[in-house]
Symmetry: C2
Subunit: 346 residues, 2 copies
DNA sequence: CTGAAAGCGCTTACAG
DNA sequence: CTGAAAGCGCTTACAG
């Protein structure tokens, strides 16, 4: 493997000159620069990453800390991961994927071994045990997911309160006055999935403002439970004409549930969900939905992280909390309420 | 940040002694060893990864090269990724996730910068353009997916030929004599997805041996195409009583398609698929299926890779091709053929 | 515009 | 059983 010494020799210059010619960190005569570049080409030289990291204290690598829970939605996770890794690469960084169940230990290890220049945390909980440590270490961190206390880190998330409101608005505007919201299971909330209640609260508040009836449920996050749940809600609220889904499994299951009952959207019921566009495409979900914007959130987190890594630490910008506003992908599952259903009796 | 020099000073020994005490690479008096360990604890010392890499030419990191194609099945990919990353961590390695669309360039860059000790390649194609380079570089490689020429690398894959045979056998044994195989789209084959035709050929050969009729199709890999395809096949082969699915989208779509026709499995039609157990759970697919064994394949690839990295290069073991034998997760979707359907007329 | 040298933080032969 | 020193391959002040 060629070293910078080999390059220098081949170009007939010193090692420092070769280094400067490549980094551009001081002016070099054009002739020398070209000789060095030619030598690099000829020898197929690539800098040794470990040596460079040792000399510069920069690794050009970021760590991506996920929590991959069994009942999390895998298709969604991959979107976040690819958003991060592709943006990182564009910026010249590699991505270390960390799936340790003990995120705190991983953070400590990677920080103090100086393996990475910064951290992106996925799936951040309301009270995330990784945050106190993240604030203490030297490397900056960017979160995807809004924690209770966002101090000292940069945060990116979908605005779930606004999302809940927007979902109610969309159905209200089409004439619906009795709605059912299907959320993730209680235990997702219990472990810190604040987005669940944030969306639910947004929806509740907006429904109250508009005088709309909103039945709220925490449903299962997989079959067969979710299928039974949905059927149950439809039975219990025969006059409800609109369905809000903040639960990917519910969205995946709903087409079969409706088909089994001889119903369809939007003829018999209007539906609006909240999940990623990739998810919708994969399962060809026919429901209008607020896009999770997974790749955008991942990309923004990385951009901010890199700007902190490379920025002047003295002139550090204040930390930001950026909430992306909800955007509805219209798939035609919202229409005026079905008269038959509105006249249904309990 | 504490260095080994700080540890040595605190323990009252030389840097080399501190290093040896930690690595165990030579015998150390118990008293000294304990003093060093105490100093490590007190100072919170973690070796600098770059320095260690420079000194040892080992990074304790492996690269995971995936191809994340738009029409690939995301949920399945994440299984492979987690299988690799979790096994790597257990073995003391971190995982660099590489999603560059240009796999060859990434391989070159990571190899010659010495960033990683080895490579795991996912989604390997029949004629994979990364293989020639992989054979040339100094770091070993392990593949998940069987290429046309597996020379010089370790290969792990599901035995797709045996899988095709097993699927036919399962339906034959239950009494079925006319079957439909729904494969991935043609373009998956075109870009090197050999598993598609390997399974199809296995099924075809076994069907021929048993005298069973097998209709083979390449269907769409997303909605709404796949839904129409399935309906079409059921229309065209009214006497077919068994369905083989080597297409995740087909598996996801089939419940709605059957429901829409008032059919169910296994009462009206028997079904066997090939996808990951995690996928089946997420969508609660009610079909018996051959497990893709994504996490197992990922784990095995890493184990082999690590043993090559750490093994004596002189006594290098010959390269292996390990094909995992198909295992059917029985979800009760295979029964005796429906008499009504067998008597159906075209 | 260029070179000789120090230093980043480890590991490991070499000496004792 | 332990220490002083060299070396891994870079970058970057220091000198000219």
């Amino acid at each position: 493997m060629a070293t910078i010494g080999d390059v220098a020799k081949a170009a007939g210059v010193s090692r420092s000159t070769a280094s400067y010619a490549l980094s551009g960190n001081r002016s070099i005569s054009e002739a020398v620069r070209l000789r060095v570049l030619a030598a690099v080409e000829e020898l197929g030289y690539t800098p040794n990453a470990g040596a460079r990291a040792l000399a510069t204290s920069r690794t050009k690598t970021i760590a991506l800390l996920g929590r991959f829970l069994d009942d999390e939605f895998a298709p969604a996770m991959l979107q976040y991961i690819l958003g991060v890794s592709e943006t990182a690469r564009k910026k010249g960084y590699d991505t270390l994927l960390v799936s340790d169940e003990n995120g705190v230990a991983a953070l400590k290890r990677l920080s103090s071994s100086r393996m990475v220049d910064g951290f992106v945390l996925l799936n951040v909980a309301e009270r995330d045990d990784r945050l106190p440590l993240l604030r203490d270490i030297r490397q900056p961190g960017a979160l995807v997911g809004l924690p209770g206390d966002p101090d000292g880190v940069d945060v990116f998330d979908l605005d779930f309160v606004a999302s809940g409101r927007a979902m109610v608005d969309a159905l209200y505007d089409a004439g619906h006055r009795e709605l059912v919201l299907v959320s993730q299971p209680e235990h997702v909330v219990a472990r810190g999935g604040a987005y669940v209640w944030r969306l639910a609260n947004g929806a509740r508040d907006r429904a109250d403002e508009l005088g709309v009836t909103l039945h709220r449920y925490h449903a299962h996050s997989s079959q067969p439970g979710i299928g039974r749940d949905l059927a149950d809600y439809l039975d219990r609220h025969p006059r409800a004409t609109g369905l809000l889904l903040n639960n990917e499994a519910a969205a995946a299951a709903l087409p079969s549930v409706l088909a089994a009952r001889g119903m369809s959207a939007p003829e018999d019921i209007s539906v609006i969900g909240r999940y990623s566009d990739a998810f919708a495409r994969t399962f060809s979900l026919p429901f209008s939905a607020i896009d999770s914007a997974a790749d955008e959130l991942g990309a923004r987190a990385v951009q901010q992280l890199v700007s902190r890594i490379e920025g002047d630490p003295d002139a550090a910008k204040p930390h930001t909390v950026e909430l992306i506003q909800p955007r509805i992908d219209d798939r035609g599952s919202i229409a005026a309420p079905s008269p038959a259903r509105m006249g249904a009796t309990h």
